[in-house]
């Protein structure tokens, strides 16, 4: 079943068009939203999180229309959202903050709510610091507090904007495990710059650039878009759009491969790079 069905989403801020006709079809599982800075990922996620209204386009989430107040309320009851820059009230402890959000999510029975808060804090590994003031936590730990509040109530739809920013490698691995579990039977949509995170946990990928969806598919399908366009050479190939030296001392080149080039098996990074970083990327479609 389709969780999010967006067709031609448009959102403008004065003269800037942040989202310019994005089309998404998100189903259960973990979907990664990839795109360069300024591609419109955050604005798209804010629209999907019911924080921003769209200027035009059609949108249905969880079978409802977020522009209708009653539907929007029902969507919010089934939604968990981690913004790119979640703020935290000074003076709240970790437990108090998550408990506060739980109340705002209509967890009104104190005992059940506290059990739920303990559950999500345990999920993100913050049980030991539950009574610590948030202002005393590191950036990565604060990020996990934000994640904990998004997980309250085991929402059907989880929208995470750059969830792994500030995480150390151990925390990222733990996050992958947690999101993989969360993605079973429900929908997780996350944006990130980290393609290895996406490759590890996302069953599907949506690539956005300049506010438009340029590709939707699996990680291997993204990689496949670079087939025949990645090659190896002893020196930097002038024909390459992008090239870098690899472990074996040879150059990995991306672009239009010359005849007789030693072609390599493309990776997700290659496919993504060619989708968003080269002219004509908009013409590539799944």
């Amino acid at each position: 079943m389709t969780t999010i069905e967006a067709i031609g989403l448009v959102r403008r801020f004065h003269r800037t068009t942040a989202v310019d006709g994005a089309t998404l079809n998100i189903t259960a599982g973990v979907t990664g939203l990839l795109g360069p800075n300024g591609a419109g990922k955050t604005t798209t996620l804010r629209i999907l999180a019911t924080v921003l209204a769209r200027d035009s386009g059609s949108l249905r989430m969880l079978g409802r229309d977020p522009s209708n107040p009653a539907d929007r309320l029902e969507i919010r009851r089934r939604l968990g959202y981690l913004p790119q820059d979640p703020g935290y009230q000074r003076g709240f402890t970790v437990f108090e903050f998550v408990d506060y959000i739980a109340i705002l999510k209509e967890w009104t029975v104190r005992r059940a709510r506290h059990d739920e808060v303990r559950r999500v804090l345990d999920m993100v590994g913050l049980s030991d610091v539950r009574d610590t003031k948030i202002r005393k936590l590191s950036g990565g730990m604060r990020r996990r507090v934000g994640l904990a509040q998004a997980l309250i109530g085991d929402p059907e739809l989880l929208i995470l904007d750059e969830p792994t920013v500030g995480f150390d490698p151990q925390q990222r691995l733990r996050f992958r495990d947690m999101i993989s579990q969360a993605g079973e039977g429900r929908t997780v949509l996350l944006s990130t710059h980290l393609t290895d995170d996406v490759a590890a946990i996302c069953g599907r990928i949506v690539v956005i650039t300049a506010g438009r969806t340029v590709f939707t598919g699996t990680p291997s399908e993204v990689a496949a878009t670079a087939a025949g366009r990645v090659w190896s050479s002893a020196d930097r190939d002038p024909a390459a759009d992008v090239a870098w030296r690899t472990e074996d001392g040879r150059f990995r080149n991306l672009g239009t491969a010359p005849d007789g080039a030693h072609l390599l098996t493309p990776t997700l990074d290659d496919g993504y790079m060619l989708l968003v970083g080269t002219p004509g990327a908009d013409e590539v479609a799944a």
């Binding site: 919010r76 913004p83 009104t108």
Partner: protein, 272 residues
């Protein structure tokens, strides 16, 4: 970023939402009561009262009465703008508005919870004034401090609720740093000026004044204590309406007009 989704949920009546407001109001009440502004003032009161009690050996009860009334009806009531304002603006100051925009509870519900939460400091202050009222009962009237009337006792919660409502309204309409201080200072100057004006109308219509006839020099004869209470209630409800109006304009306009008329009527009827 501007033009976020504006909530117009007046048509949505849902029991869980009322329970959410009540649960949230308990959190906001705790945040206000333990706010450093109150705690610092409480330490000050205890120090002053302790010092006075240590020096006054012949009339300790009067010292306690005087201290309770001075602080519960004036100092604490005035500074209650600060905790209410800081609680009302905390999400915005922390940059947490976006997180709170994606939850079922609306800004209107959060404002209502703060207004309800302000009942906690109001109840504590009223209890203190009631204790003072009881302590006075078997004593002869004091000549140097104002009489504590039933109307003054009854107005105590309104002083706190009014200040909190004003703070919420300012937070919703003037969301800039320093506004609570400006509101507080403006209120103090307004009230202080009315006491030097020797005008009964100016004194009686000053906002949230428990003691219109504070001393002999400003004694106002013949005003209606009950209508004054009604006037303070009207002001409090008007401030609460202004706080909620931002997110529920249509309904608050419908409620605000009769409240405004009632406040004007009570303000006129209380005059000698």
């Amino acid at each position: 970023m501007t033009a976020v989704i504006v909530e117009t949920q007046s048509a949505i009546h849902d029991y869980p939402r009322i329970r959410s407001v009540l649960a949230l109001s308990r959190v906001e009440a705790r945040r206000m009561v333990v706010h450093p502004a109150y705690l610092v003032a409480a330490v000050y009161v205890v120090t002053i009262m302790g010092s006075d009690l240590f020096q006054a050996t012949d009339n300790n009860r009067k010292t306690v009465i005087e201290t309770i009334e001075m602080f519960a009806l004036f100092l604490f009531a005035m500074i209650s703008i600060i905790p209410a304002s800081l609680v009302a603006t905390s999400a915005r100051r922390a940059g947490a508005e976006e997180t709170l925009s994606a939850v079922p509870a609306t800004p209107r519900m959060r404002t209502a919870a703060i207004l309800l939460g302000a009942c906690a400091p109001a109840a504590i202050a009223t209890l203190a004034v009631l204790i003072s009222y009881v302590l006075r009962q078997d004593l002869p009237p004091f000549t140097d401090i104002p009489e504590l009337t039933g109307a003054a006792v009854a107005s105590t919660p309104l002083l706190y609720l009014g200040a909190a409502a004003l703070a919420c309204a300012a937070a919703r309409w003037l969301p800039w740093p320093g506004v609570p201080i400006v509101v507080l200072v403006g209120l103090v100057i307004w009230v202080a000026n009315t006491h030097t004006s020797h005008s009964a109308a100016a004194v009686l219509t000053a906002p949230w004044l428990a003691y219109p006839d504070m001393d002999d020099a400003n004694h106002i004869a013949g005003y209606s204590g009950l209508w004054h209470l009604g006037y303070l209630l009207g002001l409090t409800l008007l401030a609460a309406t202004a706080a909620l109006w931002r997110d529920d304009a249509r309904r608050m306009t419908a409620i605000g007009i009769p409240i405004g008329l009632f406040t004007a009527l009570a303000g006129w009827a209380q005059l000698p």
